[in-house]
Every structure is written in structure tokens, then in C-alpha cells.
């Protein structure tokens, strides 16, 4: 209905294969970017930052990462929490070891380190398939958490066994530590998210992406037409873990500030991110955003409704949260296995065909 595609055609392959081939979509995308970068920073306050925006941005990165592994390459992982932990602790060690290096560098290196660990735990995927692998990744989850819990070198021998993010800056602006401005942390995460999304998109629409999807859809055929399974799967694990690591680092350094590994990066975290991917839509970058947004906002809304309006005790609301999330997962798998992203796609189709039904 809102679309005007007459005269909107591509005369080069570059135009045709761009992320938003339709002009209208492209403009909407620019608008959102502009809004996020130029408007939000001036409206943002601590509540919004901590309750919604930061978690959304950070989880979105994680979701993108996991989506690459599960949605694009078809390798289910329950180890996300563990990999986030790797990112967090790597970042912590770096922050404390090199105080005056920019936070950007720390986070990125943390991501790279996680990527390596990811590859390590990805190796079994060559022999193990389906949920055998899913369970195998639990090993990563539990082992890593245990590791950071028990080996005190990781938390610099602090008595509490916690890690605390000292104040670190980017271009002289504090983005971690006790006294940061909402807009600064927001921008810091936003930049990472934007870059992650763009990179993820580029990878998934290109050569690597195709090899991943080939493996996902039919691994044997893929190998026979020349996809190297080893390479495909390991790159998927690497890239995925890279993003997950980054999100872990941000989650710890920027969002929480202080972390006890068991709580922050436990198995529950793995499931949370997995759910984001399922609800959002497997194999869709947009889905990762949608899923993250949904599961971040849902509890907040429930809390407002349950606690503030109905005056229920928080634990009941928390339980409701479980019920609803669980129910939604099942519902989505039944009704729309491709998640919010697919719903969005359908809506778009309808608009483009308007006023015709098909």
C-alpha cells in the first residue's frame, strides 16, 4: 500500500543484491538509523537505558551471533551463556591488564578470543549432528562457567569471586564503571550492534553465508557440490562466537558492571538467547532484533502490569514470565516456525500487493 515500486529497478547486480533492494525499505532503514543515532541519545535517561535499551542492544548482538550458528548454519548450540562468559572475562582481563587502551579495542579482542574458543568447541560438530551436538555444547556451557568460577586467575583472585568493571573510556568518555552517562553507554553499544548487523548481513548474503545455508539445508548434498563442511561449520562457530563474545563483554562491562559468572552467564542465559532467535525468526538478521526486543520488553511490561497495576508480588510475575515465554516458544514453533521475521515478511507482501489479496 505504501510501496511505489514502479520505476524502481536495478541496472547492476550490486543494486539488485543490496540488503534493501526496494527503495521504500531503504529509506525506512535510513530513517531508523538516523533516529537511533541522532534522536534517541538526546531523549535517553538511565531508566530507559538500563531497563530496555542496553539489554536490547546487547542481546540483539548475541542473538545475531547465535542466529548465524543455528538459523543459518543449522548447528544448535546451548552454550551461548558460556561463550558470553568468555567474552566477559576476556574483556575483564584486558581492561585490567591494559587500562589505557580504548574500550573498543578491548571489546573487539574479547570477541576474537571468544571466536577461538568457539572454534575449539565447534570441532565436535564435524562428527556430531542435531541435538547430539546441542547437548554436546552444554559441555562448553558448564565447563566454561565452572572454569571462571574456580580458576581465580580469571577474576584476578578477588575475594568475592566476582569481577567488577573499572572505569574505562572511549575518546575520553567513560563507557564503563560506576559513573557513566546513559547516552554514552547507549551509543557505545549501538555502534557495536550496527556494525555487527552489517557484518552479519554481508556474510550471510555472500559466499560464506551460502555455504552455511547449504550445510543447514542438506549437508551431504552440500559436501558433494563442493562445500567443505569443516570450513563451513568452523567459520560459523567462529563468527557466531565472535558476536556472542562481544555481547558478553558489553553485557558485563557496560551493562552490569559487576558479574558473578554462575548467575550472569548460566544455562538460563543460553536458553534466553536461543528463545530470542526462535521467536524472532531463525535465519533472519531482522529476526534477531525482533526476538531480542520482544524478550527484553516482555518482562518489563509484565512487571508493570503485574506488580504496578495488579500489585502482585514480583516472584509470581516472574513465574508468569516463565509460563508465557515457554508457551510462546511452543506456539511459535507450531504456528510460525519462522518467527516474527516471517510475520513481518508476510505483512510486507500484503502491503506490496495492495489492494489485491494475492
Amino acid at each position: 500500500m505504501l510501496y511505489r515500486e514502479a520505476g524502481d529497478f536495478s541496472s547492476t547486480y550490486a543494486q539488485d543484491s543490496q540488503t534493501f533492494p526496494i527503495r521504500f525499505d531503504r529509506y525506512r532503514y535510513y530513517f531508523v538509523l538516523a533516529f537511533a543515532f541522532l534522536v534517541v541519545p538526546f531523549l535517553i535517561n538511565d531508566y530507559w537505558a538500563n531497563a530496555i535499551l542496553l539489554p536490547f542492544l546487547i542481546y540483539a548482538i548475541a542473538a545475531i551471533g547465535l542466529n548465524i550458528l543455528v538459523g543459518y548454519c543449522g548447528q544448535v548450540s546451548l552454550g551461548t551463556g558460556g561463550f558470553m562468559a568468555v567474552g566477559a572475562y576476556a574483556c575483564y582481563k584486558l581492561m585490567t591488564a591494559f587500562p589505557d587502551v580504548s574500550m573498543f579495542v578491548h571489546v573487539i579482542i574479547a570477541g576474537l578470543i571468544t571466536a577461538m574458543v568457539g572454534v575449539l568447541f565447534g570441532l565436535p560438530s564435524l562428527r556430531i549432528k542435531g541435538f547430539y551436538l546441542a547437548v554436546a555444547t552444554l559441555a562448553a556451557q558448564f565447563f566454561l562457567v565452572w572454569l571462571f568460577n574456580r580458576v581465580s586467575w580469571f577474576y584476578n583472585y578477588s575475594a568475592s569471586g566476582q569481577i567488577n568493571a573499572p572505569e574505562r573510556t572511549v575518546f575520553g568518555i567513560a563507557v564503563t564503571g560506576p559513573n557513566t552517562d546513559a547516552w554514552a553507554t547507549y551509543m557505545f553499544c549501538l555502534i557495536f550492534l550496527t556494525l555487527s548487523a552489517i557484518i552479519a548481513r554481508n556474510l550471510t548474503r555472500g559466499t560464506v553465508g551460502r555455504s552455511w545455508m547449504a550445510i543447514r539445508d542438506m549437508d551431504i548434498a552440500a559436501e558433494i557440490i563442493g562445500v567443505n563442511p569443516l570450513k563451513a561449520k568452523l567459520t560459523a562457530f567462529a563468527v557466531s562466537s565472535f558476536f556472542v563474545g562481544i555481547s558478553g563483554a558489553l553485557f558485563f562491562a557496560v551493562y552490569l558492571g559487576a558479574v558473578e559468572v554462575g548467575e550472569a552467564f548460566g544455562i538460563q542465559k543460553s536458553f534466553l538467547v536461543l528463545f530470542m532467535v526462535i521467536i524472532g525468526g531463525l535465519g533472519s538478521i531482522f529476526g534477531s532484533f525482533a526476538g531480542a526486543a520482544f524478550l527484553v520488553v516482555l518482562p518489563v511490561v509484565l512487571k508493570i502490569v503485574g506488580v504496578d497495576w495488579l500489585g502482585w508480588p514480583t516472584d509470581i510475575v516472574a513465574h508468569f514470565n516463565l509460563v508465557i515465554v515457554g508457551g510462546l516458544i511452543v506456539m511459535f514453533l507450531i504456528v510460525e516456525p519462522h518467527g516474527l521475521a516471517q510475520l513481518w515478511r508476510l505483512a510486507k507482501e500484503k502491503l506490496r500487493l495492495w489492494p489485491f489479496p494475492h
Binding site: M1, E5, D8
Partner: protein, 656 residues
């Protein structure tokens, strides 16, 4: 006679215009073609180089001035280039209908003695090879798509790209010669030769000079304010004069871009992608498109249906007024805006008409509802009246005075004259030079002062000065009582009903008019489905009483409207039958351009016509038919003859 002796600023030939465009609009697109998934684009300067390379290649192949070169295939930039390249070397391009059978080609190419042919693909190559022995002068063929031709003997075959390579290689050697030849082209040298698919007899080769083409292109472009940034979609047969004027004449004069679809079956999607700003289509196309719209809307949800119908109502009253710049109340404007948001905009978008600035239809009369529908949407659809001999333009409708029942005022530089028998004559810079190798029919159509007979009967509305075409002159006859008999006029009114595909009206020298009706299978079939009426064959559906009733209603409505026009009130249809088979070109009942061949039909269906006049309630008949594969067969049928109510009117003698 308003004729400039030489073109503006030495622009006396298409190649000359190409040169100008290549320097003036160097960077802007001249041609686009959907191929390999994207719109391949050539700027004007690239186009110049391509064409030049080809022209040099042709020189190298020894094409002489005055040689005729056949161009056969669907609309593709390469083929348009070929025509211009041929002009460059002083030859005469002769575009042919790609779907014409080998014999037809044999005649045309033999008639003009073509030495060379530029063809699209294996299919065309085969056709020509098939009749090669009938063509003494024919020497070589240039083909575009090498597929399947690898194994062919290449002694008389050459690939398009190869020819261009030859040209590029020989540039230094032949450039001078080429320039010389281009320079020798003047305003009166032949620009193109087009064969008219005559309703009777062999096709005639209409010779058009540069003057004809360029003058017409200039005046018509100015008439519609065409711009270099305009886009058209070239999908109509290249052999048809209209396509030549739009895609070559006007394109080169104004320097706008010609877009070629990927293939006939992707035509609609390609149309949607390009979104032309200047669009031509015969009424049939608009008609089918409208039918599709309606059918698709049937499946829409209740809300959408409501939205569509309410706002279409608004559009029908407000839209045309807005287009004609008539005063419109504020409230109406608002309602129309809303409609535009909810329906018209999206609809135009899905149809690919969002950007259309000027749209034309011609060749047949178009149904008022159809015409109004598109105008209501805000598409500036207009009618023009023309023919090959006039290089298209005789009359056209200026913006702001558009009506479905006229064909507009004389185009710039055109004079009109109506003969006693009502036949329309014209004189203009666009008047063709001659029929090639056919002096007497040239004389027959064009008199000494350059007046050309259109062969159509019509009259000029005194108050508006618009021309109204009634019918083909030779079909216009007299009823027994001497009143005017114009079958086509009535037939068109009948055909405006979606249910009626074809109609043939009889009555020449008879006391009353009668008619054959062909139902439209798509429309009626669809209707039958919705009212779950079962039918096993076209014949059964055509004979179905409910269908008959519907048709009868249509006929009677037509009678009413015919009666209003006292000149033609005699032509009301008293009795009719719904034919048991579709009139078909393969059976010789229609021309390839779907014009009715009265004589043939009158002979073939004599028995039915007899029944129409002897008052019998039904008639049994046997008809010979030709099937897809060329086999012949016969179908039996018993047809019901219906009487239709007519309006009694005080008869005056017609034709003052």
C-alpha cells in the same frame, strides 16, 4: 502546405539525431533491456558507438545504398540499432512481424528484394532458410542469439556481435565512407519501409521519408511535451508504424529512453519495474488488464472490496475532472486524496502506471467504462487516430479535452476533409511517399494535392471540432430505407461489454439490423463459475439460456444508446444469435490484427444469416474449424435466435 524544407539545424535523418543525442544527452540512458536479471543499460553515447560499429560492419559486408534489410524479432535494442545502422549506410530497414509465417515473409522479402536480414534467433533463421530458394536477391543473415545455431552452415550466417567486431576492426578503413554516406542522407531520402497488414489482399510496403518521420515525431512530441527523461516500454510489434514512431522517431527526437522487456511472458512485471512515463497500448490490453483487476478484487476480503468500490465511485466522478483541470470542490479533492492513498496509488503501482504522464490508445474504439476507469485513477489516457500512411498521427486528443467517443482534433500540421460519403481525408507532412512498387494503389489512396483517403467514415463535431469515427467507409452502407448503416459503430458499442468478445452486425440494404455475438470466455466463464453454472464446452456455455439473457440485455441497452444518435438510429439490432465458436484468424474470419472479415463471414455463415431474417426461432448448422495443429474438423450446433427490443424513432434521412 506547412512543410519545412529541411529539418531544424540539419537534423534531417535519424542518424543525424543520434549524433546530436550522443553529444547532448551523452550520459543519459537511451536503451534498457531486462536481461540476465537486471536492466542492462546503454547511454546515448554508448548507443552511438554500438550502432556505428554495426554500421561499419555492414559496410564491410558490402551493404550498398538503397539495399533493403529485413529486421525480424521481438523488441530488442540490437534490432532497433540495426535499423539505424542500416539507415547510416544508406540502406532501408524493413521491420517484419516476428510471428508471421514463412510464406508471408517470403512475399514481403521477395517484394522489396531484401539482400540482408537481421534476425533474433534460430526460429527466425529457420523460417527464412525454409523459403530461401524463393528469394533470389537474398544473400546473408545476421542473428543475435547463437543458441542452437552452432551447427548451422555459416556461409550465409553471421553473429551480430561478430559483425560489430568486424566493424570496429575496420573503423579506420571505413569511417570516412560511413560519414560520407550519412552526409548523403537528406530530408526526403527513405527512412523506413513498413508493410501494412491489409484486411484484404497482399500487404503493401509503405515508404516513409525522413521528413515524414521526423516532422511527425517533432510535432507530436511537442504536442505532448515529451522530455528526455521520459521512459517508454517497447513491446508492440516492431513492424507496426506506431512502435517505429514511438521507439525510434520520438525517442530520437526527444532523446528519451526505450525499455525492452525480457520476454513476452514477463512483460507485465517488466512494465511494473520500469514504470513508463509515456505509454501506448491498444484497447484490448487495457481491457484485459481491467478484467484481471476485477477478477483479482473478487477474491479480496470484504473490507478491501468495500474500500475499492467506494473509492472507485469517488474516482469515477472526481478523477476525470481533476485530469481535465475542471473545478473540483474541496471536499471532493479530499475524498480523492484519501482514495489515492488507499486505492488508486497502490493500484497504479501494482499495474505499473504510477509514473505515466501521457498514455495513448488507438487502433480500435475503446469502451467508455474501460477508458474512464483508467482516467479515474488519474492516468492521463488519451485517444489518437492514425494510420501507417500518415506516419501515425492524424488526430489526437489534447490534454483537457479527452472523451471516449471521439479521437480528438487534427494533429499539428494536419488538415482534414470529410467527403460526401462521409469518408475522412487528410493531408500532412507525415503523408507517406508511396506504396513501394505499387503505383496504382498509391494513386488510389493519395491524390495529386496530397490528400489521402483514410478509408474510414466519420464526422467532425461542429461545437468541439473533434473527429468522430463511425466505421470503415467501405462497410458503411445504407439500410433499405436509405438510412445510414454503420455496423462497426454498433459492434464496438456491443464489444464494450466485457461479456462480448466479438460482434458482427448485418443489415446492408436490408430493412433491419441483425448480429452475431461471440461471448468472452474469460469473463463469462468466470461469471459462470461464481454462479456455479456447469458447462462442458464453449459451445454449451454460449448456448446457455442465462448467458443468452445477459447478452440480450446488452443488445437492448445498445439499441437504446444507438437510438439516441438520430443519424444512426436505424442500426438497432432486431435479432441476434450467440455463435457456437469463436471467430478465428486461423479460419480466416478475422485478420491477424483481429479485424472482422465481413465478406468471408457472410459467405461462411449464410445459413445462420438467413435464419436471422426469416424469423425462425432456431437454426441448426455445421461449421468447419481449423485446430491448433492445422487439422480441419467440423462442429454441429443448433443456435437459438433471439429477438431484441428496439426503440422506435422518427426516421429522418441520414447523411447530410
Amino acid at each position: 502546405m506547412a512543410q519545412t524544407q529541411s529539418g531544424v539545424g540539419g537534423l534531417v535523418s535519424i542518424p543525424a539525431l543520434l549524433n546530436r543525442n550522443a553529444s547532448e544527452f551523452a550520459g543519459s540512458p537511451a536503451y534498457r533491456e531486462k536481461e540476465f536479471g537486471i536492466w542492462q543499460t546503454w547511454t546515448w553515447s554508448q548507443t552511438r558507438d554500438e550502432i556505428e560499429a554495426l554500421a561499419l560492419g555492414l559496410l564491410d559486408m558490402g551493404v550498398a545504398e538503397g539495399d533493403f534489410v529485413a529486421v525480424i524479432g521481438r523488441n530488442r535494442p540490437y534490432l532497433y540499432w540495426s535499423m539505424v545502422a542500416v539507415q547510416m549506410v544508406g540502406g532501408v530497414p524493413v521491420p517484419l512481424y516476428q510471428d508471421s509465417v514463412a510464406e508471408e515473409m517470403a512475399y514481403v522479402m521477395g517484394h522489396c528484394g531484401a539482400k540482408l536480414a537481421v534476425v533474433a534467433d534460430q526460429e527466425q533463421v529457420d523460417k527464412i532458410l525454409e523459403v530461401n530458394d524463393q528469394l533470389p536477391d537474398f544473400q546473408r543473415m545476421i542473428y543475435l542469439d547463437p543458441r542452437g545455431l552452432r551447427k548451422y552452415d555459416h556461409e550465409h550466417l553471421e553473429q551480430f556481435s561478430k559483425v560489430q567486431d568486424r566493424g570496429r576492426a575496420a573503423r579506420d578503413r571505413l569511417k570516412a565512407e560511413l560519414d560520407a554516406r550519412i552526409a548523403r542522407l537528406d530530408y526526403d531520402s527513405t527512412c523506413v519501409m513498413l508493410y501494412t497488414s491489409g484486411t484484404t489482399g497482399k500487404p503493401k510496403g509503405v515508404v516513409l521519408s525522413n521528413r515524414n518521420v521526423i516532422e511527425t515525431a517533432r510535432s507530436s512530441s511537442e504536442f505532448d511535451h515529451l522530455r528526455p527523461d521520459d521512459d517508454i516500454l517497447a513491446y508492440l510489434p516492431m513492424a507496426w508504424v506506431g512502435d517505429f514512431i514511438f521507439s525510434v522517431g520520438q525517442a530520437y527526437w526527444t532523446g528519451f529512453c526505450v525499455n525492452c522487456p525480457e520476454s513476452p511472458d514477463t512483460m507485465m512485471t517488466d512494465l511494473r519495474e520500469i514504470g513508463p512515463t509515456y505509454y501506448f497500448a491498444p484497447p484490448r490490453v487495457f481491457e484485459t488488464q481491467l478484467t484481471n483487476v476485477m477478477i483479482r478484487m473478487e477474491d479480496a476480503g470484504r473490507f478491501k472490496q468495500w474500500l475499492f468500490h467506494t473509492f472507485m465511485k469517488v474516482a469515477r466522478e472526481v478523477g476525470p475532472k481533476l485530469l481535465d483541470g475542471k473545478p473540483v470542490g474541496f471536499l471532493d479533492r479530499v475524498r480523492y486524496k484519501l482514495g489515492d492513498l488507499a486505492v488508486y496509488g497502490p493500484l497504479k503501482n501494482t499495474l505499473g502506471f504510477s509514473r505515466v504522464r501521457v498514455g495513448y490508445t488507438a487502433g480500435e474504439a475503446i469502451g467508455p467504462d474501460i477508458f474512464d476507469f483508467y482516467r479515474a485513477l488519474g492516468i492521463n489516457l488519451k485517444q489518437l487516430y492514425g494510420q501507417t500512411e500518415a506516419t501515425v498521427f492524424i488526430t489526437a486528443q489534447p490534454d483537457g479535452q479527452v472523451r471516449s467517443d471521439t479521437v480528438g482534433v487534427p494533429s499539428p500540421g494536419v488538415e482534414l476533409r470529410i467527403a460526401e460519403n462521409g469518408e475522412v481525408f487528410y493531408r500532412s507532412p507525415g503523408v507517406f511517399v508511396e506504396y513501394y512498387k505499387n503505383a496504382e494503389s498509391t494513386a488510389g489512396t493519395k491524390d495529386a494535392e496530397g490528400w489521402v483517403a483514410t478509408g474510414d467514415a466519420g464526422f467532425i463535431e461542429p461545437d468541439t471540432g473533434h473527429l468522430r469515427i463511425i466505421d470503415r467507409a467501405k462497410d458503411v452502407g445504407q439500410m433499405a430505407d436509405g438510412s445510414l448503416f454503420a455496423p462497426k459503430y454498433v459492434e464496438n458499442k456491443l464489444k464494450f461489454y466485457p461479456n462480448i468478445l466479438e460482434a458482427v452486425v448485418f443489415g446492408n440494404n436490408r430493412t433491419e439490423c441483425t448480429a452475431f455475438i461471440n461471448i468472452d470466455l474469460t469473463a463469462v466463464g468466470n461469471w459462470a463459475e461464481r454462479n456455479n453454472i456447469a458447462y462442458s464446452s464453449y459451445q454449451e456455455l454460449a448456448g446457455h439460456p442465462q448467458v443468452m439473457d445477459a447478452i440480450q440485455r446488452h443488445v437492448e441497452e445498445v439499441n437504446l444508446s444507438v437510438a439516441e444518435d438520430e443519424m444512426l438510429s436505424g442500426c438497432q439490432v432486431h435479432r441476434f444469435v450467440v455463435l457456437h465458436k469463436e471467430l478465428d484468424a486461423d479460419d480466416g474470419e478475422l485478420t491477424r490484427t483481429r479485424k472482422v472479415r465481413r465478406r468471408i463471414i457472410e459467405e461462411k455463415y449464410a445459413d445462420i444469416i438467413a435464419a436471422l431474417y426469416d424469423g425462425s426461432p432456431r437454426v441448426s448448422t455445421v461449421t468447419e474449424v481449423t485446430y491448433e495443429d492445422g487439422r480441419k474438423g467440423a462442429i454441429k450446433a443448433t443456435l437459438e435466435v433471439r429477438d431484441a427490443a428496439t426503440v422506435a424513432v422518427a426516421r429522418k434521412m441520414a447523411a447530410e
